[in-house]
Symmetry: C2
Subunit: 318 residues, 2 copies
């Protein structure tokens, strides 16, 4: 197995590129794919101050590493979600990554600061954990970026993540979410610009990137997410990809290339702030209600007795 | 297992309706679903003369039966495609169905009339058999309808067929085909109106309909289609449906309900005849070239030596 670029010994095969790569040229490919995504979608400008949403998993640490490699000024923010051992270990990896590279990592713990954690919020709201978790993360990353004067929030959503979300939105023809699914969301009053520079790279490529760059990361899946629909969609897309390499990239990138212009009018409407003049009475975030959804979640969850966390399961056991 | 309607003994469970049905009420459900499709999409008017595209399989025979049951004047056209024993048996079922019910069935044999068959056309054009077959069928059904003064051609495409085609078009974001995928195509110069009244019913429901109505049909799959991408998509959709009953119907009907209006502009453009004034010098069909694609296929294929046909395989063996 030889590298397509230098004919030296290859360490990874990428069927969707119909090629193999050595360490050096695989890492270069990853950087090039991120640079291409950033350019194609006007994600970042050279002097931008970037806040990376860091979970301690492969995607967010690879993203942070890649942005620094590409010369961007990127700090990290790690949220302690309180998902037992899973969160403890994730935080350790995030801190170690930043310390070893002398990068700035902010840490914000939900229970210390707001008096709740994700398992408790899920129980208190009687909704799936990913709902309370996602909402908390969006609110707190938005707020940290605005308060810290960052130009943009970067998240580690990769091609597999985007493909699975697009698959679900498409199976249901959920036009509102289809219109919003784009790798860049522009800034608007009270909200920072948000970008997803890893959308041209797969989960497997990000895992290989971390291994080859010597980045230690949380390899467990979040125990709260086990068995969710999103993971089922990923399995289906992997089956398609195995039969026909490149299917995932064609699905996601083809959507943005050809379908997004068709739903552009819908996206413009979806991007409009609901009421730019109304602000949450507690935190000042834009909201349609007196208090924003996050502040209401905090109120409900902080009053609830803490609940236990499922034990993490290793990937592949499910 | 009791019928949802009458609480009598049920013969079939329909997970997507979360209900079981007896013979009488299952057959009524099928008629109602066809009537609803016809009404929702303005497929047929009461006095219309309908030409049913009859293959001898469950879908086309059930369609013919349902249209007659619903009071429409429907004749059939069976094309002898020359796919060996598969075609011979299919033709026998089509003829028997018509004779037993005293219905009018036209029969047109490709080799007798045009000097070729589908396996030979596939070999001569070096394309997948479904390509030459589909093109031949579209041309000949169009022509028979125009020549016979029929108002509309009805085909037996069911929910699974539409779902698989939509799935493929969506995975590739093939906007041209997405814009054209609709259960009604209006008449335009040289082309009849075309409708798909079975789009609200599944393959399994159509097989059950035939069994319960005593309709004998070709149960083999076309030996030329074995292993094609379309069948792979059907398998993936069946896996989704098993996990989440109703997924296929939501995907297809949701597309027409919510996405079709978004791509309506594209559809209008796709429906435009390429050049309504230009006609094939041989057969008079609308075309962009001197001779239409069908007449060119006939010329290429009739000059080619006949090729053998694969042996039919039973469903479930693949």
């Amino acid at each position: 197995m030889k590298c397509r670029v230098c004919r030296g010994p290859a360490v990874i095969d990428l069927p969707r590129h119909n090629a193999n790569f050595c360490v050096e040229h695989f890492l270069r490919l990853c950087r090039n794919q991120v640079a291409k995504a950033i350019e194609d979608f006007s994600m970042l400008s050279p002097g931008d101050r970037v806040l990376v949403a860091v979970s301690g998993g492969k995607d967010s640490l690879a993203l942070w590493d890649l942005l620094v490699e590409l010369g961007y000024r990127a700090d990290g923010l790690y949220l302690g979600l309180g998902i037992g051992e899973y969160s403890d270990v994730s935080g350790t990896y995030a801190r170690a990554f930043a310390e070893e590279r002398n990068l700035t990592l902010q840490v914000l713990d939900l229970r210390d600061t707001y008096g709740y954690d994700v398992p408790t919020a899920a129980a208190a709201t009687r909704r799936v954990p990913c709902s309370a978790c996602g909402m908390s993360k969006r609110h707190l990353f938005d707020r940290a970026a605005i308060d810290g004067g960052y130009d943009v929030v970067a998240t580690g959503h990769n091609l597999d993540d985007e493909a699975a979300v697009l698959y679900g939105n498409t199976l249901h023809w959920d036009l509102e979410h289809l219109a919003r699914q784009y790798p860049v969301l522009p800034a608007r009053p009270g909200f920072p610009k948000k970008v997803k520079p890893l959308v041209r790279l797969t989960e497997r490529e990000m895992a290989a990137y971390c291994v080859l760059r010597g980045i230690d990361y949380q390899v467990e899946e979040c125990p709260m997410a086990a068995g969710n629909t999103h993971l089922g969609y990923k399995a289906q897309l992997n089956a398609l990809e195995a039969t026909s390499p490149g299917t995932k990239a064609a699905f996601v990138l083809g959507f943005w290339d050809r379908m997004s212009p068709v739903v552009a009018g819908l996206r413009a409407a979806a991007d409009e702030p609901p009421d730019a003049t109304q602000r949450c009475v507690r935190c000042g975030a834009p909201t349609l209600a007196e208090a924003c959804a996050f502040c209401r979640l905090v109120e409900t969850s902080a009053a609830h007795a803490p609940v236990p966390v499922p034990t993490p399961r290793r990937r592949g056991r499910r």
